[in-house]
Symmetry: C2
Subunit: 297 residues, 2 copies
């Protein structure tokens, strides 16, 4: 049963992490060729979210912008961090009570993990799931990750709008563009905009409504010593195996001195963000997910 | 004809670029288990070259340390950049007239380009070439890159000693460790130390003396607009094809607006460092090399 939803403004954001170049250069392309993203029934806006970090080629200047939304910002004199200033500016424009509120936000990210093209959703409302199922019918290799529980539904840029999606592509090193993933991400964005246009006209196409969704459960850290220094690395048998079943007893880490550390919990899980560079400092070696089969619609 | 060379001190350096974690974590391992790198006929020392950059997870704090050697440093008051201070400290210890001069330096690097295990040599003296040929006989997939002409023979950390090698491994994102490449680099280091031990005893083993060496010719930049902004990316057909023949007319870049840019020079070359993240800011999309077949000894 299709919901009656009218979207007036769609925001495409990239460079929310300044060293994730795929999204940043796509936003620059769309700024140069706005006809590529314009549709009849809604306005499309673009945002290079963290321009200072993009210029510097770093994830952030002072703090992670994509953990910095959904809260009150105080007076000018209290905003000493660049990402606080930037989050306030973005909220004042695109949040629900902002000057030009966005009804739908697509935020473009990349990862050093082997996550292919991943749609990150933060809710399981019917509209979002139907969109995800539609995109999956077009691009069968796409994965869908529900990050509700990770905190991103409250503090991410995409959480500012009623509806939103993160796009995560990898594996790709920070600070580079890989043409193949650039082109795939670009095609996916056009498909999202086309779908939103059809949804506004209540002409959502027919498609396979079976969908696999990976749900965030928790994170797992690297082995560390008492001083907090990392003592091992992702085991070669786990590296690049995002979204594949991790069974009890399987190797997960190889310590620098040669010991294998195995997965010792009782149930099979599906790790993602395996060996994501930006997560070393966050104490995250991988995110653990559980797999769910859904029938949408 | 084997040269009579006696090495008294070998320096293993890593983290010269702070976000190249393979080398940094190997150095930390060797600090913890010095017996792994100790040999009878010479002293082995380790150096985490840029500890501040390693802690911050960045290539450098103020300037690229591995372009910062081989010159005079002035008084304390003139050293406002961290890498100037650090280069002076390292020179005062390990350069030829330093307190504990190194006769051989191995400096550990990683790259986002698909360079596998690469030995970087800066000279073509017989001792270095024989070592390279020996390592190639043990690890046939190793590539040998002669960077003379790139400037590294004058300004790199390894240039402080009479003999030296860079080890470059990839593809690997900045800020992560990939176990497979960590283990391969570690094995290569032990083989280098074993060879140097034998060389000190004039017991260099027999091996295949045929060697392919890739010589630095020049760098090639990304397409840019008048403001210097990048306008394209490595063409998908060139991405990951380091050390493979690039023929006149072959695609090298894909502009963001969809145009293919081809290689328009007259001779076949062998590009390396294709899409190295750290080189975007240096105006380098790849390094062009020429291939040479050598018979050593």
């Amino acid at each position: 049963m299709m919901q009656k939803i009218k979207l007036n403004r769609v925001l495409l954001a990239g460079g929310t992490h300044g060293n994730e170049f795929t999204g940043a250069f796509l936003i620059k392309k769309f700024e140069q060729f706005p006809q590529l993203i314009s549709r009849y029934s809604f306005e499309t806006q673009t945002l290079l979210s963290n321009p200072k970090a993009f210029t510097a080629g770093v994830r952030y200047i002072d703090k992670d912008l994509n953990r910095n939304f959904g809260r009150q910002f105080f007076g000018e004199e209290e905003l000493i961090y660049y990402e606080d200033l930037r989050a306030r500016e973005i909220q004042q424009l695109f949040a629900r009570h902002g000057k030009t509120p966005a009804d739908f936000i697509v935020d473009l990210h990349s990862t050093t993990a082997n996550m292919g093209l991943t749609l990150i959703i933060d809710t399981d409302d019917a509209f979002t799931l139907q969109l995800a199922a539609y995109l999956h019918s077009l691009y069968p290799s796409i994965k869908v990750y529900n990050s509700a529980g990770s905190g991103r539904s409250q503090d991410s840029l995409r959480s500012l709008a009623r509806f939103g999606l993160g796009i995560e592509v990898g594996p790709i090193a920070q600070g580079i563009v890989k043409a193949e993933l650039f082109l795939k991400t670009e095609a996916l964005i056009y498909s999202i905009l086309d779908y939103l246009e059809k949804a506004n006209h209540r002409e959502v196409p027919l498609f396979d409504q079976q969908l696999t969704v990976y749900h965030y459960v928790k994170t797992m850290d690297y082995p560390r010593n008492k001083s907090g220094e990392i003592q091992g690395m992702i085991h070669p048998q786990l590296q690049f195996r995002d979204y594949q079943a991790l069974c009890p007893g399987a190797p997960i880490f190889l310590s620098f001195d040669g010991n294998v550390i195995t997965y010792e919990e009782s149930s099979t899980v599906y790790p993602i963000f395996i060996n994501e560079a930006a997560y070393y400092e966050k104490g995250i070696a991988m995110c653990i997910t559980q797999k769910q089969q859904l029938t949408c619609g």
